[in-house]
Symmetry: C2
């Protein structure tokens, strides 16, 4: 078994140019000379432990290429770091972050994807995060809970500790799955989590040991990659840019016998594609044949079709009693991300293990909002969903229309649903370099590498996988999306490849 | 480095009688013959993976002693398990749980302490969990947030994702620490967590590697033991039943160089004692001399003194810029546990690492309640605190008065604050057996072993440490506490030792 990546020693490791570019995030979006902004950002990453002491920075030439900057700018930034005692260069050993107090655990892989959540964005348009406005029905219920919740005192009259979730919400979720999504569920088969991210993280913490293989689609939701890399799992990517080939999945399961297979069969993130019904039946048969592999169906985007055709039933609906077929989901994309309300639907035994793990992690999510959300799920779901789908289609149409006009060479698989486009740059463009150029035109986008299993991170020493793809979220207002397409065209569809020439 | 306990193989392990008694929890609190109730409960634990496949059950004689039952009852329960195909016995190999589908990760230590949160309690009085009623000001604000929060739309108008916490709440917590608790804090030094449990769990996940030593007071808060055992840390207990000896702490830090030292210096859980000011200065000096050890001051109970003397300042107040002196806390015991609002105060660099870990764990706690809590902290804290202290003193006085009358031989250190008594049974009584007897009289109490580092768990094979101590929470209504003391007297102060004779 391979040791988890986060245990690697800082002193012997370097970081690739592409990985450092990811960590840098939105660094040029401030006033001042570029070399100073770059140095300041590197200092901050060193201060927070994301660039651990002793780490070797990439060669100036490589970082300049990854950031579409001149080599002189990078050289000046490194010189400033040395002047301020944050870095040192030795003959033949490159430039290293100077040791300061840090802990071994800080030397984990930091993929930088969620760094955007951690700081105030100063870009004009952030197309990196697929986050939605709060639905008006949800905002109204939060502001006046007494209008939607019958027995408020029945909640505040309890201890407030519900590791499994408030009983009323477990019941509402079970009913929602059974009645609306075609997935039979009993409340005993449901645990409430702090968003879909915690659903995935708890499943990994409980069911995957460090070094065990876990198979995911490549590209996939970056949150699951972050949780997997922190857990020390060995992640196996299965190409899915045009949909997952079930032959490939069967081969990976037979060959690697993974502890977990994580799939987004309905409105896949980032492609928006739907796994056909026939493929789903093959996955269910595979689960029956491999009881020691947990198959996770992430249903977070299931209720967001862009057309009028309802998607096929979730995987677990094909074998509701198969204990290794697990469903997870969230209300973050239909209601509001600020609710942080997710769920797992599994066998009662697995749910009990999750609840013990959740008790150790946080003793349960906040109790009161769960009563509000249960009421919304029971009484207002159809109205919220109708509102959200109109909201979503307007945005999808605005972005795709503007892109077709401004960047006719860009292509993407037509999404069946979800919140994102998976765009391919023309002419073998490097999406990492393009994302840097786009930032300087005020638009933040996600280079495909960050959604890919083989992305290089701190300590990996590699340059990371080069990707021709971008993920664009169409969750900003339609006029912002239209403006962003023009700005992206100014950044140049082949900017990445040009800067490297 | 020793491997973490949860990786031990189920097939080779047994569970001690005391550890199984812990896992069984409230099993006799239902109708029916005891042997059937016992077998049913064991089946359920096997089904949920808490008793993993292949695990050897304790000898009938040992389990009978731990549960204060006749050996015939245990023998009948084991026979029922065999009859139903859940267990098998082989000559000389004891009785084992029959293998069924489980995962390696399920073979973790399950200490059973929080099992009480996971099922509806049917006991008359539960004195196990130190959970408080919701303060009326808090209940009112939750029911009508518009009355306390000025800009509700400023919250629901955001993406809702705040891995560091809502800015308004980070600011309110920093002000609260600075102005009321004597601990200078900037909002950049604060992260909001889902209760104090997540504060502790995130610190462990980020700063402790599997196999690294962590030192805690013994007894201590069981939630930290649960999180530590799941992390694979090597836990070192320091006797603290009558207060922690600073010599002992210094010796442990010098000898073991732990990654973390977790302390509850103010109104220690379970003893309620306060670490004197002179000892605190020694801890601060120790932290300065050992920069690679993180010293965590859990301040969750700080604002709950039983007398009128304010406690000494928190540890970090003695050296506010010492980066390895970290404070954590929660509003769960002053406001309401259902808020699930905790915090960490640390250097800005460590806070940034925690935020990255929290993003991977759950992308942030629910956003909306944080605005309500910020308003309460800013505007209503003093009123809530006054109400809570009166609430608490009435309960402390009710329990201690009733215990002195009904059980004059019981002794406990007079608590300076907090929510619990650390009671010593007379005549070398076994608190594990006594807790079982008490359950049959309708009162649930915590045997001291569950708050102790050396408690045996599934897979440990040992019988667990015998303890003469009980933890009694005085958070139920005063009349319930008075009734409970009478029921405990009926269970017999020396019931444990009698059953063993």
């Amino acid at each position: 078994m391979r040791g988890p990546a986060r245990f690697s020693l800082a002193g012997s490791a370097g970081i690739g140019a592409a990985a450092l570019a990811d960590l840098l995030g939105h660094w040029p979006a401030a006033d001042g000379p570029l070399y100073r902004l770059l140095a300041t950002r590197i200092v901050r990453l060193a201060d927070t432990g994301e660039l651990p002491a002793g780490l070797r920075l990439p060669p100036e030439r490589d970082l300049a290429a990854a950031l579409s900057l001149s080599r002189n700018t990078v050289a000046a930034a490194y010189q400033l770091l040395r002047d301020e005692g944050m870095a040192e260069s030795r003959q033949g050993a490159g430039t290293r972050i100077v040791p300061h107090r840090t802990t071994p655990a800080a030397v984990h892989r930091a993929n930088g994807f969620f760094a955007g959540l951690l700081e105030t964005s100063v870009v004009d348009a952030d197309l990196t995060l697929a986050v939605v406005d709060c639905a008006p029905q949800v905002a109204a219920a939060l502001a006046d809970p007494a209008a939607v919740v019958g027995g408020i005192r029945e909640v505040t009259g309890t201890s407030g500790y519900f590791p499994l979730g408030l009983p009323a919400l477990r019941e509402a979720i079970a009913g929602h799955l059974t009645d609306r999504l075609g997935l039979p569920a009993d409340p005993a088969q449901v645990i409430v989590t702090t968003g879909g991210q915690q659903a995935v993280d708890l499943l990994i913490r409980c069911e995957v040991l460090p070094g065990q293989p876990v198979a995911v689609e490549d590209p996939t939701f970056p949150g699951v990659l972050d949780a997997l890399h922190r857990s020390g799992a060995r992640v196996i990517g299965m190409p899915a840019g045009a949909g997952l080939d079930p032959e490939r999945l069967e081969h990976v399961v037979r060959t690697h016998r993974p502890a977990m297979v994580y799939l987004i069969p309905t409105h896949h993130n980032p492609t928006g594609l739907v796994m056909p019904a026939g493929h789903r039946r093959r996955v269910a048969r595979l689960a029956a044949a491999h009881p020691d592999t947990l198959f996770v169906d992430d249903m977070t985007l299931t209720e967001l079709p862009l057309g009028d055709t309802p998607p096929p039933a979730p995987l677990a609906a094909l074998a509701p009693r198969q204990p290794n077929l697990v469903s997870a989901g969230s209300l973050s994309k239909v209601y509001w991300g600020g609710l942080r309300t997710g769920w797992i639907r599994a066998s009662a035994g697995l749910i009990a293990r999750m609840a013990a793990a959740k008790a150790a992690a946080d003793l349960g999510s906040p109790a009161f909002p769960q009563a509000v959300i249960a009421a919304l799920l029971n009484d207002q779901h159809d109205g919220i969903l109708k509102w959200r789908r109109e909201w979503l289609r307007a945005r999808h149409d605005a972005l795709t229309g503007a892109l077709r006009a401004a960047l006719p060479e860009w292509t993407w698989p037509e999404p069946d649903g979800g919140l994102t486009l998976w765009v391919r740059l023309p002419g073998a463009g490097d999406s990492g370099a393009f994302a840097q150029a786009a930032l300087r035109h005020g638009v933040a986008v996600v280079p495909g590498r960050l959604l890919s299993v083989s992305s290089g991170g701190a300590g990996s020493g590699g340059a990371g996988q080069r990707s021709e793809h971008l993920r664009l979220a169409f969750t900003q207002a339609p006029d912002v999306l239209a403006r962003s397409a023009l700005a992206l065209a100014q950044a140049g569809p082949g900017a990445g490849s040009r800067a490297r020439g």
